[in-house]
Every structure is written in structure tokens, then in C-alpha cells.
């Protein structure tokens, strides 16, 4: 069984949490507590892991997600799950504006 790693945003800076979630070869399950409406929570994930955010988040939560399963147990602000490439993002509360907004891939990008 995967271990659950907990981050308390009331005690640990967001940058530190996001950096930990960007570690190479990331495995396991993660819970982020006390988000208190913070912006940019769990952005840029690229791993087959489960992340639960326990509370309301601000703007751009779970942005640019790849592969991760992210659950926000609360409301999200503007732009949740923007530019998602794969994985899932589940907002249990209200998802505000621009949820899942995405710039379509164009031939010129290749």
C-alpha cells in the first residue's frame, strides 16, 4: 500500500510543496491541508499519483496536469485544471470560471 504524505500549507510554503510534487519518479499518495484559497496549488504535476487538496483553493489549481489524479475537496477559483494534458481533476465544490480552459494544439506547435 502506498504511503500517504501530508503537506500543511499553514506551515510549509507552497513553492516547497509544489517542488516536492515535481520530484523525479514520484510515487504514492499526497494530501495538501489548509490551502486557505491559495493560488497555484498542485500545478505542473507529471506523475501517476493521487493528490487530495483538503479545502478551498484559489486560482489555477491543478494547472497543466499530466497523469495525476487530483481531487479538490472544496471550491476552486478561476482557471482550475487549465491546460490539462492527461489525468483527472475532480472539484467537489464549485469550479468558478475558466475551469479546464485549454489552448488547442496547432500544427505550428509541432
Amino acid at each position: 500500500m502506498d504511503t500517504v504524505t501530508r503537506f500543511d500549507l499553514a506551515k510549509v510554503p507552497l513553492r516547497e510543496v509544489n517542488t516536492a510534487l515535481h520530484a523525479p519518479h514520484l510515487t504514492g499518495e499526497f494530501v495538501i491541508e489548509n490551502p486557505a484559497g491559495t493560488h497555484n496549488v498542485a500545478v505542473g504535476m507529471n506523475a501517476d499519483v493521487k493528490v487530495t487538496v483538503d479545502g478551498h483553493v484559489g486560482y489555477y489549481a491543478a494547472g497543466m496536469n499530466q497523469r495525476a489524479s487530483i481531487t479538490i475537496d472544496g471550491n476552486a477559483g478561476t482557471g482550475v485544471a487549465e491546460n490539462m494534458m492527461s489525468g483527472t481533476v475532480w472539484v467537489k465544490g464549485n469550479a468558478s470560471q475558466s475551469a479546464g480552459a485549454h489552448r488547442p494544439r496547432r500544427a505550428a506547435d509541432d
Binding site: G37, T38, G58, G77, Q97
Partner: protein
């Protein structure tokens, strides 16, 4: 961008904490713009003693004659003048309109930040943390307050450019808006959201009510005339001595979150402004719908 906050206390046990809670909310919004800020506070017994007329002035620049006229008026009515940064707060044993007339006569050209019983409006240039500390907002009391932290986009960074604005006795008007929405400069302009004839069927929304503070109404305006005279985007927070209201334009791209408990009603540009309020974990929280007026009264 700008940030706005409003807090309306239902339970008197929280009145002593109004200033502290409002300052925390405003400072949390400071990175939405922090060139200037303002607050309107209702019910602080030191700044605005009960039963006295109250006027908040900006750009008081009087000569000797002005100061003498002001002193003569104050002498007959137990007048007190308090300087809080850029704001001169006058109170006297007179109704607020009489005090306002006297202040305008003494200081022609003075800017009126607000006037009305129990109302103090403080504004200044600088970031909210510095300003609220200089005013001593943390120790202020009362039952209701609104605040605005500004990122100037269309006019000068001055105390008078900061919200809230006064549009009526006791009123305060805060917006997050972008050009061409501007607050009314005409002191006789009445915010249409206070016009009860404009309402249609009250709507049910999340939240609760309690004796003392009641949700006055939530309604969809019958016509767009109920909205402020603007073709811009805005979230508007209007308060007077006994009520406050929130309304967004039809697009509702200017952010707003409302939270309500048995102890208070609060509004902020973002949820994080509300996240430090006592009991917020049990609050009903929602984003106000476009062109729906949410109003409470006590």
C-alpha cells in the same frame, strides 16, 4: 485589478474584533493592487461616537480663516477633529448634514470621503498593511466595514482615488472595475441597488438568517436600469448604516465570493480574503450570480 472586502457582523460578541478582521481581509487582498486603499467602518465608538454627526474629509487645505471658521463651529457643538493619515475625521453634536455644510463652508473645495452617523471613511496612498497599521484599524470596533485596495488603471494614485466613495449619507461604494466603469461623482446619485421598486421575485440562495441581521432580499433586477450606469465590467459592494448589497455585471468576470454564517456575512474578491474569519469552515460559500442583487439588512 483591485480587491474589495466587506464584513457585516451579526453577533455583537464579534463587534470588538471588526477592525482586526477587516484589516486581515484587506491585507490578504493587497497583491490584487496596493497603491492605495480605503475602508468604511460603521460603529467605532471612538472614531464615531454614537449620536454625533460624522464627516470624513480628504485634502483639507485650509488657511487661517478656514481654520478659525471651523474652530468656531466646533466650539459650539463639542466638535472633535481627528487626523488619521490623509483623512480628517470630524464629529460634533449636530446632524451629519449640518456638520458637512459647515465643513464645506470652512474649507471650500474639500473632498468628502463619507458622512453619516457612525460612519468613518479612511483612505490613503500606500499598501494596506502600512495604512491600516497607521490608522490603528486593528483595535477599531463596530458592526460593519468595507474596504478596497487599489491598482490604479485610469486615474492618479491619490487618497481621493481610492474607494470607497460616498454617494449618500451613511453610504460607501466599493468596486472592482475596469474602465469605463467609474463611481458616481454626483453626491445626489442613488445606487439603484437600493431601489426596492426594482426588485422582482426574491430568490432562494444558500445561507442562513438570524434575528438582528436578515437577508433583506435577493432578486433579479427587472431591467438593466437597476445596474450602475456603466457598460464596463464590475463587482459592486454598497453599504449604508444598516445594510449592504453585492451585485455583478452580466458577464461577472470581476471576481466575488460571499460567505455567510449565523455570526456574520462577508464578501471578498477571492476566498482567501475570507479564510481567516472565525467559523469560516462551516460557512455557506458561493460566487454571486451575474446581475443578481444580494442584500442584507439589520
Amino acid at each position: 485589478m483591485c480587491g474589495i472586502v466587506g464584513l457585516h457582523l451579526r453577533t455583537p460578541e464579534l463587534y470588538p474584533r471588526l477592525g482586526e478582521l477587516l484589516a486581515g481581509m484587506l491585507c490578504e487582498m493587497s497583491n490584487r493592487g496596493s497603491d492605495s486603499a480605503g475602508v468604511a467602518l460603521y460603529g467605532d465608538p471612538t472614531w464615531t461616537p454614537p449620536g454625533r454627526g460624522c464627516v470624513s474629509l480628504l485634502e483639507v487645505d485650509g488657511d487661517d480663516e478656514s481654520n478659525q471658521r471651523c474652530s468656531r463651529f466646533r466650539a459650539g457643538r463639542q466638535g472633535i477633529a481627528t487626523t488619521l493619515g490623509a483623512t480628517r475625521l470630524l464629529t460634533a453634536d449636530a446632524d451629519s448634514e449640518t456638520l458637512l455644510t459647515a465643513a464645506r463652508a470652512a474649507y471650500p473645495g474639500v473632498l468628502v470621503a463619507g458622512f453619516g452617523a457612525d460612519l468613518a471613511v479612511l483612505k490613503g496612498v500606500g499598501d494596506p498593511a502600512t495604512l491600516t497599521r497607521s490608522w490603528g484599524l486593528d483595535t477599531a470596533q463596530g458592526w460593519q466595514g468595507v474596504g478596497h485596495t487599489r491598482m490604479a488603471t485610469e486615474s492618479a494614485v491619490t487618497p481621493s482615488g481610492a474607494h470607497p466613495y460616498a454617494v449618500d449619507p451613511n453610504s460607501a461604494w466599493c468596486t472592482t472595475a475596469r474602465s469605463p466603469t467609474t463611481p458616481p461623482s454626483d453626491a445626489n446619485y442613488k445606487p439603484p441597488v437600493c431601489d426596492s421598486t426594482a426588485r422582482t421575485t426574491p430568490r432562494s440562495v444558500p445561507g442562513s438568517s438570524r434575528a438582528g441581521w436578515q437577508r433583506a432580499a435577493t432578486w433579479r433586477p427587472r431591467s438593466r436600469n437597476c445596474a450602475p450606469p456603466s457598460d464596463g465590467f464590475y463587482t459592486l459592494l454598497v453599504s449604508n448604516r444598516d445594510s449592504f448589497a453585492v451585485v455583478r455585471d452580466a458577464i461577472a468576470c470581476k471576481p466575488a465570493v460571499i460567505a455567510e454564517t449565523d455570526d456574520w456575512v462577508a464578501m471578498g474578491s477571492e476566498y482567501r480574503a475570507l479564510s481567516g474569519l472565525p467559523g469560516v469552515e462551516k460557512a455557506a460559500i458561493w460566487e454571486p450570480e451575474p446581475e443578481v442583487v444580494y442584500a442584507w439588512t439589520r
